[in-house]
């Protein structure tokens, strides 16, 4: 039971290290919305698609 609780932390760490790690040439500054509705409004305003992440709260 205990190790299940740490999974989100480990996965968040993985995402941070892989997607956003500064040493990776693919890393970039990303602005994350925490409101779905605001993200939809922003997508309408900019014409961009949405990258929606669901994850357990660490």
């Amino acid at each position: 039971m205990q190790c299940r609780c740490y999974l989100p932390y480990l996965l968040f760490l993985w995402l941070t290290l892989t997607v956003l790690h500064p040493a990776d040439s693919r890393a970039e500054e990303v602005l994350w919305f925490d409101s779905y509705d605001e993200a939809v409004d922003e997508a309408k305003r900019t014409g961009k698609p949405i990258f929606l992440e669901f994850r357990c709260e660490p």
């Binding site: 299940r4 779905y36 993200a39 922003e42 949405i50 669901f54």
Partner: protein, 336 residues
């Protein structure tokens, strides 16, 4: 990523879980969509062995590129969205409300996965084959992917190999649905009727698209549910190996029955005094039933046909002596 509007959701309270349907036992799951809420693709998925087996930077980057390509097609009128699923909000599931919002608790994705099934069981509509045994494993078809390359097949064996799937093929459609990522593939596979005998794939080989039919192996939908901690899963805390027809005949058992020899006892069984089975025991009946259309082991029969918390009577052969034995199934709980 900068070409997307990125949003991270950690509370599911107001999310349309009908639109954003996915196996809630994924700790991370992604959707690519447009402002009109037309979903382009999913990214995520897992198997019983690991929550992050299919999460990979290269395949994520590939998915993001493909998502942009679909978005350009959408903007030019060259991409038609599928029909929007019926809206479903967490507040519409009473069992979920009781355990979360009514107690001031967060509506976690795992709780949705669990309590949606609790509600279904209460309502008498729980289909365990599809709603408890969710997200079948493509490895049971003999498919292993070259994960960084998305849906490129690395190894094809078993049923997939017999059907003609080759290493290097790229899966582009599953049951007529376009698939771009493992998340798409696993979701489409999960939608297959558990009574189906075949699935249709379209693969890209060199510059050609080829349709193939894979004959589904028996119990193709089965996965190890241990990590799911499903409240509706009656845990029996033993594992058995199906007996051969010859062994059943020797023991005087039904040749078509689900009799199994106990190979593993979980220590939880002793701790909670759930049963007194020993390794080597033969379990040949549960509540007097020894044969099932689906189950090939007594523990699978228990999972499919009893409720968590039920007390059962097992027919057991121990050292050649037939006996009856009581087993109480356990009900799990996920951080409630």
């Amino acid at each position: 990523m900068s070409e997307y509007v990125c949003v991270r959701i950690t509370r599911m309270d107001d999310v349309d879980i009908g639109l954003f349907d996915y196996d809630r036992y994924n700790t991370l799951y992604f959707f690519l969509l447009n402002a009109e809420e037309h979903i382009y693709m999913r990214y995520g998925g897992r198997d019983s062995s690991s929550p992050n087996k299919y999460l990979n930077l290269d395949s994520l980057e590939l998915a993001l590129e493909q998502g942009l390509a679909i978005h350009r097609r959408y903007l030019s009128g060259d991409w038609l969205p599928s029909q929007r699923p019926k809206q479903l909000l967490p507040e519409e599931i009473p069992a979920l409300v009781e355990q979360t919002t009514a107690r001031g608790r967060c509506v976690e994705c795992h709780l949705i996965g669990d309590l949606q099934n609790v509600q279904r069981e209460r309502d008498g509509v729980l289909d365990k084959l599809s709603q408890m045994f969710r997200s079948p494993d493509i490895k049971r078809l003999g498919i292993e992917l070259d994960i960084p390359k998305g849906l490129v097949v690395q190894v094809s064996r078993g049923a997939a190999s017999v059907a003609g799937l080759l290493s290097g093929d790229r899966i582009v459609e599953f049951e007529g649905v376009p698939v771009w990522t493992f998340g798409d593939l696993q979701y489409a596979y999960d939608k297959v009727d558990r009574r189906a005998n075949q699935v249709q794939l379209t693969i890209q080989r060199a510059m050609q698209h080829i349709d193939i039919s894979i004959t589904l192996p028996v119990r193709w939908w089965w996965t190890d549910l241990t990590y799911r901690q499903l409240t509706v899963d009656p845990r029996s805390y033993f594992k058995s190996s199906p007996l051969t027809p010859e062994r059943k005949k020797t023991l005087g058992l039904d040749s078509l029955g689900f009799a199994g020899e106990v190979t593993n006892i979980d220590s939880v069984a002793q701790l909670l005094s759930l049963h007194t089975l020993s390794i080597g025991d033969i379990v040949f009946a549960v509540n007097g039933i020894g044969r099932d259309k689906v189950a090939n082991t007594p523990e699978l029969f228990i999972q499919l046909h009893t409720r968590a918390g039920d007390t059962l009577t097992l027919g057991v052969i121990r050292k050649g002596v037939r006996m009856l034995m009581t087993l109480k199934t356990a009900r799990m709980s996920y951080r409630k």
